[in-house]
């Protein structure tokens, strides 16, 4: 693969063709914040927190760093005033749902986001889709998915699959940036009748 030379925040960065801006930045130890990115998963582009400014032939635009493929002579700016303002807004919008999530709080501090800007609607889930995609792409079990769309969209375990697969796995739990996933699982367990059949004793204790 051919080598591509680009510039990120004034620094010359060497990247390989097919890499994204985020990957190139990571390789040069330039930090770009993310919420829905995971190295084992296909880029999703849902949280938009990795929004950066790019300049190509004098034109500037904002793009998602986790998706945008590097190209020769690309100029990337990761912390312009506008980029910071947009990240701040994204964080404020998400803090309405998960005001106590540590990940969001740390980022809020960095970007001066106001935890209380919007009325709280604590649903905890910020729809990063990490659990859904990890279960589908890595585990290939499809035990958790999104239901409905838009503002009504939420994550949900599919009881028939979850009752068979989830007790011995739970690999998605630590991925969840707001612990909403665990709550959803507990809820599913509570609602699922008859009780999750293959549930081992140890699992019960762990979650109760």
């Amino acid at each position: 693969m051919s080598e591509i030379l680009l510039q990120i925040d004034g620094k010359e960065v060497k990247a390989r063709e097919g890499m994204t801006i985020l990957e190139a930045a990571q390789s040069a130890e330039i930090s770009i914040p993310t919420l829905c990115y995971h190295e084992k998963l296909e880029p999703y582009g849902g949280c938009r927190l990795c929004t950066v400014e790019v300049e190509i032939r004098g034109w500037t635009k904002l793009v998602a760093a986790c998706l945008y493929p590097v190209e020769e002579n690309l100029i990337v700016r990761t912390r312009t005033e506008k980029v910071d303002r947009i990240r701040k807004m994204i964080l404020e919008l998400l803090l309405a749902h998960a005001p106590d999530a540590f990940v969001l709080q740390d980022l809020a501090q960095e970007y001066g986001a106001d935890r209380d800007r919007f009325e709280k609607e604590a649903s905890f889930c910020i729809h990063c889709g990490l659990c859904v995609r990890y279960c589908a792409e890595v585990k290939k079990k499809y035990a958790v998915g999104f239901v409905d769309r838009g503002t009504r969209k939420e994550i949900s375990f599919i009881p028939e699959i979850a009752s068979k697969e989830c007790w011995d796995c739970k690999e998605c739990f630590p991925l969840c940036p707001t612990s909403a996933l665990q709550a959803a699982f507990v809820l599913t367990k509570a609602l699922f009748s008859p009780p999750l059949s293959s549930e081992p004793e140890s699992g019960k204790q762990e979650l109760s």
């Binding site: 849902g46 904002l62 994204i90 919008l93 998400l94 309405a96 889709g129 769309r149 838009g150 969209k153």
Partner: protein, 643 residues
């Protein structure tokens, strides 16, 4: 039916069809599009058949059930050929007279004709009616003259001759060049040059390529693609096949909304017939070119009109957009090069190939060539579908063709481009419609929706309505759209119910910036437009709602009150009887008073108060005058002698 295997065979076959048709034989065409169907064209068709039978004319008169003629306000529409006599709003009871008078005696039935309001004269011929006269119906015109279920009808008007010309006389590169030269821009939303899209796909190295018809029309009030697909499905198939030939694709998809049953039925039938005749399938017209088309029904998600979401849905997954940093023309459906164009765009293709790019480019403006079909709805006299050359002014479309605003009301704004378009105010009525012109004005062409609004429309409420629509239709994948719209809707709703606060406009602007700059797809990026364009032209209305708690259009329920002017009330009891909330106090010879506590602001009193009294008024932004004391409510009539 044996297959047609060459261009020569096609022309022979066409001659055969035409030789059997006598142009002087009376033919009654009846609009059977969805709108006319809803107003009873099915029953009219039945009675036409029965009446012809009864009067012994079945063999001498043809009936043709056509697609939408466009003038939906006046449907069901009948046009009688060869004289082109046009009758409006036909009911089954009119049919015997039409047959006995117009068909038998060649007599015109005055009362069924259209009246030209400007000269107050009856008009006989369809093409002379002002609604049609100012149009340029290149794409939509055939709708009224063919039965969409008959491939022979399509062939009789020259159908599939463009395909034949492309396959036999042009190589695929020449077809592409012709489309590029025509400067045809996508009619579905963005206005991207079709030729450039085709070229990108053609040049992509992948062997397997797809062509797709986007028939997931979802804008409120828009139905031009529906009417084309219902009324002239073969023209879209022909365009699609030509496109496939140009880029080297052998498989096409039509993604059509499930909510369009007639379109689904007609396009499926058209595919079946085209396969039988050899216009689809293997070795089309003996050219060696193979192409098949499949129909996919959408499950009713607005976002699936976005190309990448549509492709995701075609793949069998939830219709969510995906990033297009690499164009779908290169990496689209199943990651293969895919050319997606909207129904109207494809329908333009056979015209361009048949008549040439030079012919096509004489219509329109520098940046926008050809014509555009608009769906003219809202507060407009002539509701319907209109096709005009690009560059016609909004004023001409709305007043010359649309007949202006009904009820003597004043024009306020026209919303173009669908939910994520914008509102254009009166001072820009002389704007020439075109892709770039509309974008510059803060709106967009979109797929051609045009919702006309009069003085009674509150622009803040319009913004709230469209943001509500988009909140409902957002796929929810990305934060700026899902969460941004959620908050925008809350703020706009608050403003319309009198809970707006200082700083709301600035916060809405900030949310708009985030969506516009950082959302994943075009739907999210354009979602703030309803707010931004209304703010741009009607900022004072926002200010009135927020600062004075006043709705200047007297439309927002929470901000208005109804009041009966005691000097005008004649105690006629109309409003008192009709008020569903029993909120009106009064009686015979006793001035009526509205109990503001009980009033639900349904507006019934306002509507039923006789116009000669005009006693009920709407008030906003000021306190309701306190009711007059009981003793002053009695009306003492003057004696009859004095009158």
């Amino acid at each position: 039916m044996s297959q047609i295997n060459s261009p020569a065979e096609l022309e022979d076959f066409r001659k055969g069809i035409l030789s059997k048709r006598d142009p002087n034989k009376p033919c009654i065409t009846l609009c059977s599009g969805s709108a006319c169907h809803a107003t009873g064209s099915g029953e009219v068709a039945k009675s036409l058949e029965e009446e012809l039978e009864k009067q012994g004319l079945s063999a001498e008169v043809d009936i043709r059930k056509t697609g939408c003629h466009g003038f939906c306000e006046r449907g069901p529409i009948i046009v009688i050929y060869p004289d082109e006599i046009c009758y409006f709003q036909i009911e089954p009871d009119d049919v015997p007279e039409i047959i006995s008078e117009t068909i038998k005696k060649k007599k015109i039935i005055e009362r069924l004709l259209c009246t030209d309001p400007s000269i107050n004269e009856k008009i006989i011929r369809e093409s002379e009616i002002p609604f049609y006269k100012h149009q340029e119906r290149l794409v939509f015109g055939s709708n009224g003259s063919i039965d969409p279920k008959s491939i022979d009808d399509y062939l009789s008007i020259g159908g599939y001759s463009a395909l034949s010309k492309a396959l036999s006389g042009m190589n695929s590169g020449e077809v592409l060049q012709e489309i590029k030269k025509s400067n045809l821009r996508g009619r579905g939303g963005g206005g991207f040059p079709a030729g450039r899209k085709w070229e990108e796909s053609r040049n992509a190295p992948d062997e397997i390529k797809y062509v797709i018809v986007n028939a997931d029309e979802g804008d409120p009030g828009a139905y031009m693609d529906r009417s084309l697909l219902e009324g002239n499905p073969h023209s879209i198939l022909e365009g699609l096949t030509i496109g496939a030939y140009a880029i080297g694709s052998h498989e096409g998809y039509i993604y059509v909304r499930q909510e369009y049953p007639l379109a689904v039925e007609n396009v499926n039938l058209a595919i079946k017939k085209a396969e039988e005749y050899g216009f689809l399938g293997k070795n089309i017209l003996g050219s060696g070119f193979d192409f098949i088309v499949k129909v996919h029904q959408g499950a009713g998600a607005f976002v699936c009109g976005e190309s990448s979401a549509l492709m995701t849905a075609l793949e069998g997954r939830a219709g969510e957009p995906r990033p297009k940093y690499i164009h779908t023309a290169v990496k689209g459906l199943w990651d293969r090069p895919s050319v997606l164009n909207n129904v109207e765009t494809w329908a333009n293709v056979p015209l361009i190939i048949n008549k040439g790019a030079d012919w096509f480019t004489q219509f329109g403006t520098e940046g926008s060539k050809g014509t555009k079909i608009f769906s003219l709805v809202g507060k407009i006299t002539n509701t319907g579908l209109v096709e005009v050359p690009m560059g016609m002014t909004l004023r001409d479309i709305i007043f010359k063709i649309g007949g202006g605003i009904p009820g003597g009301k004043r024009f306020k704004a026209v919303q173009t481009g669908g939910p994520s378009g914008g509102c254009i105010p009166e001072e820009l009525l002389d704007l020439e419609v075109g892709f770039d012109e509309l974008t510059k004005a803060g709106s967009m062409m979109g797929s051609g929706g045009m919702i006309v609004m009069d003085e009674d429309t509150c622009m803040v409420d319009v913004a709230r309505y469209f943001i509500d629509f988009l909140t409902d239709e957002s796929c929810g994948k990305c934060v700026p759209c899902r969460e941004g719209l959620r908050q925008m809707l809350k703020i706009l709703t608050n403003i319309t119910v009198g809970k707006g606060t200082e700083g709301d406009i600035e916060l809405l602007e900030e949310l708009s910036e985030t969506a516009k700059e950082a959302a994943l797809c075009a739907l999210g990026k354009s979602a703030p437009n309803p707010f931004l364009s209304t703010l741009r032209y009607f900022r004072d209305e926002y200010a009135a709602h927020i600062k004075e708690k006043r709705c200047p259009a007297l439309s927002c329920k929470e901000l208005i009150a109804y009041h009966i002017d005691p000097d005008k009330c004649k105690a006629c009891m109309m409003c008192l009887r009709k008020c569903p909330a029993e909120a009106i106090d009064g009686g015979k010879k006793k001035i009526h008073v509205i109990d503001q506590e009980k009033c639900t602001k349904c507006g019934t009193c306002f509507e039923v108060c006789p116009s000669k009294f005009d006693a009920v008024t709407k008030i906003s932004g000021e306190p309701v005058p306190s009711p007059i004391p009981e003793e002053k409510r009695i009306i003492i009539k003057k004696s009859k002698k004095n009158e």
